[in-house]
Symmetry: D2
Subunit: 235 residues, 4 copies
Amino acid sequence: MLYAVNHSLLKITTPIILINFKTYLEGTGKKAVELARKAETVYHETKVCVGLAPQCCDIAALASTVSLPIFAQHIDFENAGSFTGYMLPEAVKETGAVGALINHSEHRLKLSDVDTSITRTRELGLISVVCSNNAKVSAAVAALEPDMIAIEPPELIGTGIPVSKAQPEVVSGTVELVRRINKRVTILCGAGITRGEDVAAALRLGTAGVLVASGIVKAKDPYKVIREFADSTKT
Amino acid sequence: MLYAVNHSLLKITTPIILINFKTYLEGTGKKAVELARKAETVYHETKVCVGLAPQCCDIAALASTVSLPIFAQHIDFENAGSFTGYMLPEAVKETGAVGALINHSEHRLKLSDVDTSITRTRELGLISVVCSNNAKVSAAVAALEPDMIAIEPPELIGTGIPVSKAQPEVVSGTVELVRRINKRVTILCGAGITRGEDVAAALRLGTAGVLVASGIVKAKDPYKVIREFADSTKT
Amino acid sequence: MLYAVNHSLLKITTPIILINFKTYLEGTGKKAVELARKAETVYHETKVCVGLAPQCCDIAALASTVSLPIFAQHIDFENAGSFTGYMLPEAVKETGAVGALINHSEHRLKLSDVDTSITRTRELGLISVVCSNNAKVSAAVAALEPDMIAIEPPELIGTGIPVSKAQPEVVSGTVELVRRINKRVTILCGAGITRGEDVAAALRLGTAGVLVASGIVKAKDPYKVIREFADSTKT
Amino acid sequence: MLYAVNHSLLKITTPIILINFKTYLEGTGKKAVELARKAETVYHETKVCVGLAPQCCDIAALASTVSLPIFAQHIDFENAGSFTGYMLPEAVKETGAVGALINHSEHRLKLSDVDTSITRTRELGLISVVCSNNAKVSAAVAALEPDMIAIEPPELIGTGIPVSKAQPEVVSGTVELVRRINKRVTILCGAGITRGEDVAAALRLGTAGVLVASGIVKAKDPYKVIREFADSTKT
C-alpha cells in the first residue's frame, strides 16, 4: 500500500550495493519494479544490503513493492512552499525513500546547496549520500559531514579502468584524505565498478560499498550481476 | 494499481480548473491523495474538468486513486539516459500523468528548453501547459505552439487584484496578442483567481480555464472552493 | 581615452558583419585590439559596417582604440546593486559598448530573462541582438521585439553546410516566419558563414548581415576574410 | 597604458582591505576610477594593502590608473574557446587583475566548479579568494586549498551585528575549524565590517584582513572610511 512504508524496518548495513537507475528506460516504470524485485531476491539470498535509487516518479511503486532501502536521485533543499516542480525532501520521505543522492556528477549542486541539502536530510532523518569528483572535493565534502560519500576518482571515470586494475592509491589515497577530516563518514566507491572483483577491490581499499548504474541497470541479466556483486563483498 | 492508467479515458475538456499542488505540505503525500479525492467528487457532481498537478513523487498515488487528468509540475527535456535526478517525460507519462506544466514562474526555463520541452511532450502525446509572465512573453510562447498557455499578467500577480476587479484589458489584451500568433492554443488564466467570480471573469475575457494553487490547496475547505469554481464556469 | 566614447558617432548600418570574439585566445587582450584594428581598416576601405563583440574585459580597450560599434557578448538583466560578478548593462554601456548579444547558443537564457534583457537594453539605448536556435524559436524571439535577431538554423550548425550550398528555405523560411510576427526587426544569419559567397547568399535570402566567430577570429589572415565578407555584401 | 600591467610590482601584503565594488553605480565606470584613486591615496599614506574588486568591464581602466592589486568579482572556469559571454581567467589576467573572488554569496558556484576555478587561478598565477557562508562550508573550502578564504558568518550577515559587538567565537570558531584543515590559507572576514573597530576585531580574532562592499563604496566619504579601516589594522 502506498505511503505505508515503515522506515525503521529498512536497516542499512554495510557493505552496501547502491544501484542508481538514472533515467535509463531499463530502469523506468514497470521495468524499475522488475529490477527492484531482482535486487530484493539477491538480498534475500545473500543478506547483503542492496539500495535502490530510482527516479522520483518511481519511488512510490518501489517502496510499496520491495523491502529494500530506497534513495532519491536528487532532492531540492528548499522548504515546503511555493516551489513548483522541485523535489521536496519531505515528499521524498513520505513516498518511502530513506535517503538521497546529493551532488551526483550528472546533477552538480552549488557548494552552499550541498551543505543545505545535507542539513535538510539530517533534520528529516534521511540518509545523505554525497557524490564527489576527485580527492580534494571528497575531502571538502567530508568537512560537510554527510552520512556517506560516493567517491568518483577521475582516473577511473575517464579511462574505463576498473578498480581492480587501477593503481590502488587512486582509491585508497582518497579514502585517506577523507579520513583525515572525517572519521565516521561511510565511503562508497562510485566509479570503476564493472565486475565482482572490482567490488572486492573497492572494499579492500577502504570503502564500505559501491554506487553503480549501467553495470547493473543495462546488464543483460541484472540479477546475475547483482548476485555476483553481493557474493564479492564476502571474499 | 500502479502503472495501469488508461490515458484515453482521461478526457480533457474545457473549461478546466487546473490545481497546482506546488510543494505545499497540504498537497504532499497522503494529503495530496485526500485533496485529489475532493476534486474528483466535484468532477462527479458537476462534470467540469478538474486537472491536478502534484509533486512528481505523488503522481503514482494520485493516478492510481482518482480518475482525473494529472499533470507533472515540471519535466526535464533530456532524453532517457545518464541524467541522474532529472524528470524524464517518459517516466512521468508511465506513472500516469497526461501532461506537464512547463516554465512555471517558480521554475523558469531557458527559451530553447521551453521549445524542446514542448517538442518532447508532443512526441509522447503529453499535454504541454506553458506558463508565461507578461503579454509579450505570452505571444512568444504562442509562437512555440504548445497545447495550452497559462498567462500570468504581472498586474495581477504583484498587486493581489483579482481578475474580476482588474481592468478587463489585462486579461483580454494578452488573449488578443496570443490569438494574433496562434489561433488554436488553449489559454488559461494563471493569476488573480481567488473566488468563483474570478473564474467567471477569466472565462468571459477569453480564457478557457484557470490555473490555481494556494486558493485551493491551502483553503480551509478545498472541496467548497473547487465546487464554487466549477459552478462559476457555468454562469 | 577610456570612458570617452561618443556613441552617437557609431552609426550602425546594414548590411552588417558582426564578429563574435568568443573566449578565443586569438581574440583576447592585445590580440583583440589587433583584430579590431584590422576590422577598422576594412571599414575605412569599404564603408561596410563591421561590429565587434569582444569579451567584457576587452570592451574598454577596443572602444578607446577603434571607431567601430562594440557589442557585449552577454549582459545580465539585474539592476545596479548587490550582484557581484554580473554584467551590468549600465557598465557595459559606459565602457563603450553600443549593444549586446543576448541568448547566444553558448549562453542560453531563461525565456523571461531574454525578455527582461531586451527591455533593459531598450531603456539604456543599447542595441539588442538576440540569438535563436531554430525557426520556431526565432518566431518567439520576434514577438519579444528586439532590435536584431541572429538566426542559427540547425540545418547549418550540425552539418557544416554553408549558407550558399544549403536549401534556400533553411534561411528564407525562418525569415518569413519572423516577418509574419515582426516587420521591423533586423535579421542576421548566425550560422553557415564561411566564405564571401555565404555572406552574399545570406543577404539574398532576406537577412541584413551575418554574425560570425571562428571564421574570422581564428583565420590565418583575418583582414583578408573580413575584407572578402565586406566586398561580398556589395555583390 | 592598457595591457601593460606589471603584476610583479603589485605585492599583496596582509593585513589587507579588499573592496568589492559589486554592481553599485557608485562603483561603476568613471566612479570606479575615482574610488580606486581614493583607495590608492590611502595606500600611499598608510602602506596598508588595499585590493579592489571592480566589475570586469572596469578592470582595464583601474589597472591602467592605479597601482593597487585588482581582483575580478568572478571568473568562469572554462578554458579558452567557444564560451561566448563568459569570463575567461586568461583575459582577466591580461587586463590587469592579480586574482579573483570565487563563489561570492551573490554568485554561488557548484562545488566542483569552485574546485576547478581554484585550479585555474593557480595555473595562471592568479590569487583565489573563495567566499564561504558558514563554518562548515569554510572548512570544506579550506580542503580545496585556495589562497584566501573570505568567511561570512551567518550570525553577522542576517543580524547586522558588527564583528566588534558579536560573540568572538563567531569569527574565531570558524578560523579554528579552517586551521584544522589548512594551516596556510589566508583568512579574511567578509561580513560584519562597518567601522574601524570591526577591522581591528577581525584581525584580533585571527583573520588577516577584510572583504567589504557597501560600507566603503556607498559611503558619503569613501576616502575617510578606507583610511579609518587602514589605520585600524595598526591598533
